[in-house]
C-alpha cells in the first residue's frame, strides 16, 4: 500500500451471528480526505466506523489504519452520537483527561486553546450538565482533537441536535477540518450534511452495507460562506445525485 493511505479496507465483511451486516467492502482513504459515509438507518455504516476504530473485529477481509490493525485509542479520535462526557469532571477536566491519556503536558492554556478551536470560551470550569447539548458535543469534538491522532472518526455526532445547532456545528466542523487537515470519516444519514462536509461521499446500500456510490466532492473546502456554498448549482446537483443513490437502494 502507499504510505499516503490513512485507511485501507480490503474485502471487509462483518456478520452478527448468521446475518451479514457489512460488506464485502474495498475502500482506500488517502491522507487528508474528509470521507462521509451516508446511507439509510441500519445499513451498517456505524458498524463500519467501529471496525475502523478497532471496537469491532472483521469477520472477513482486513482493515488497516496507518498501515496497522486498528486498536481503540491508538491512532483515531472518536466522536459519538451522544457527547459521552464524564459528568464527574468539569468541562476542562474532560479535556485534561484526554491530554493525560495521550501523554501530553496538561496546561490550562492548552485546554483553553482546544476549547477555543471548537468555538467555546469560558466554559472550562463549568459542569458538563450546565452547558447546552450543542456545547457538549463541541467539547466531545475538542476532546477527540486533543489526542492529536492522525484520524478523526465521527459517528452521527449531530443527529441528536436541533436543526439550527446542527447547521452551526456543521459549519464550524468544516472550518476546523480545513484548518487541521486531519483525515476524517464522518457517518450520517443526512444527504445535505454529507455533501456539505465531505470531500468525498460514499453511499452504502441497506443491509448488508456495500458501496453503492463513491463520489468526489469538488466543492471549495474553505473561504466560502455556508449559505453561498449551499446556493451553488454544483451543491444542488451533488445533493440530488447522492439522494438518488440512497433512495434507489432503499427497498422497504
Amino acid at each position: 500500500m502507499s504510505s499516503a493511505d490513512a485507511i485501507r479496507i480490503d474485502g471487509l465483511t462483518h456478520s452478527y451471528g448468521e446475518t451479514l451486516a457489512v460488506g464485502p467492502i474495498d475502500l482506500t482513504v488517502p491522507e487528508g480526505e474528509f470521507l462521509v459515509l451516508v446511507g439509510a438507518s441500519g445499513c451498517g455504516k456505524s458498524t463500519l466506523l467501529r471496525l475502523i476504530a478497532g471496537f469491532e473485529q472483521p469477520t472477513g477481509g482486513s482493515v488497516l489504519t496507518g498501515g496497522a490493525k486498528p486498536v481503540p485509542g491508538k491512532g483515531a479520535g472518536l466522536v459519538f452520537q451522544q457527547p459521552r462526557l464524564f459528568p464527574w469532571k468539569t468541562v476542562g477536566g474532560n479535556i485534561e483527561l484526554a491530554l493525560r491519556y495521550a501523554g501530553q503536558t496538561v496546561t490550562a492554556e492548552r485546554v483553553e486553546e482546544l476549547l477555543a478551536r471548537v468555538g467555546l470560551h469560558d466554559v472550562a470550569k463549568r459542569r458538563t450538565w450546565q452547558i447546552s447539548g450543542g456545547q457538549q458535543q463541541r467539547v466531545a469534538i475538542a476532546r477527540a482533537l486533543a489526542v492529536e491522532n492522525p484520524l478523526l472518526l465521527l459517528d452521527e455526532p449531530f443527529a441528536a441536535l436541533d436543526a439550527l445547532t446542527r447547521e452551526k456545528l456543521q459549519e464550524d466542523l468544516r472550518q476546523v477540518s480545513a484548518a487541521t487537515g486531519r483525515t476524517s470519516v464522518f457517518v450520517t444519514h443526512s444527504v445535505d450534511e454529507a455533501v456539505f462536509l465531505g470531500s468525498r461521499v460514499v453511499v452504502l446500500t441497506p443491509r448488508p452495507g456495500r458501496i453503492a456510490l463513491d463520489l468526489k466532492v469538488g466543492l471549495p473546502r474553505s473561504g466560502i460562506a455556508a449559505d453561498e456554498l449551499r446556493g451553488l448549482p454544483e451543491f444542488a446537483a451533488l445533493r440530488a445525485e447522492v439522494g438518488h443513490a440512497i433512495r434507489d437502494r432503499v427497498t422497504v
Binding site: 471496537f55 481503540p72 485509542g73 459519538f80 464524564f86 459528568p87 491519556y101 495521550a102 458538563t128 450538565w129
Partner: protein
Amino acid sequence: MTTTLAPAPPAPPGSAGGTAALAPSGGLRRRLALRLLALVVLYVLWEVTARVMRNPAFIPSPGAVWDQLIRTSTEGYSGHSLLEHLGVSLRRIVIGSAIGIAGGLLIGVLLGTVGWLRVVAEPVVTFIRALPPLAYFSLFIIWFGIDETPKLWLLSIAALPPVAVATAAAVHGAPTGLVEAARALGASRWQATRDVVLPNALPEIFTGIRLAVGVAYSSVVAAETINGVPGIGGMIRDAQRYSQTDVVVLGLFAIGLSGLLIDSLLLSAETKLIPWRGRV
C-alpha cells in the same frame, strides 16, 4: 439508624432545580414546621400515655428520662458518664464501619470486575448478609475473647456486605458508552476503571456506605451485650437488668439522635463529593 429523607441542600447556583425531581419536599420553612409539629405531637402522646399508665417501669415519663439525662451526665451510670458511654460506642462504630467499608470496597471492586470471582463469592456475601450479627458474635467471642476485638469484628463484618453489594453492582453495571469513550481516548483498562468505572459507581457506593453505617449502628447494642461497659449498649443492658426503664429510653435516644446526626453528616459529605449525582 434512621434513614430519613435528607434535608435538601440549597441548590447550587446555575443548576436547574434539585436532583430529587420526582419527590419535591416543599419549602425549608414548611418542612421545619412540619417536623416541629410532629415532635410536639409525639411528646404530648408520650406524656399522656405515661400519666395514664402510671407505671414508670413500663413507660417512664419524659420528665423522668430528662432527670436521668442530667444524672447520667453528671454522676454517671455504671461508673461512666453518658458522654463516655456514647463516646466509646461511637468509637467502635467508626472503627468497625471504617474497616467494613474498606473491605466492602475492595471486595466489591473485585466482584464487579472479575467474572469467576463473582460466581464464587457472591453467594458467600449474600449468606453473611442474611445472618443476624448476634449469630456470629458467639463465634467471635470464642475466637477473640470478650474485649474490644470481637466487638470491632462484629461491626466490621456487619458493615461490609452493604458496601460490597452496592460496589459490585455499580462496577459491574458501568455504562459501556463511557468506558468506550475513555478507551477511544487511549485509556488503558486500569485507567478506564479508575477514571470512569469507579467515579460512575460512587453515588451507589455512597448509598451502600450510609446503609453500612446504619447496620453498624444497629449492631453496636448487640456487640455490647457482653462486657459492654463503658458503651451505650452496656448501659442499656445494665439498666434493663435493674428495670430502670428511664435509662433504657435515654440510651435509645442517645443512639437514635447521634445516628441522625451522623447520617446528616454523611449526606452533606455526599452532596459535596458527588455533585453529579442524578446527572448521568
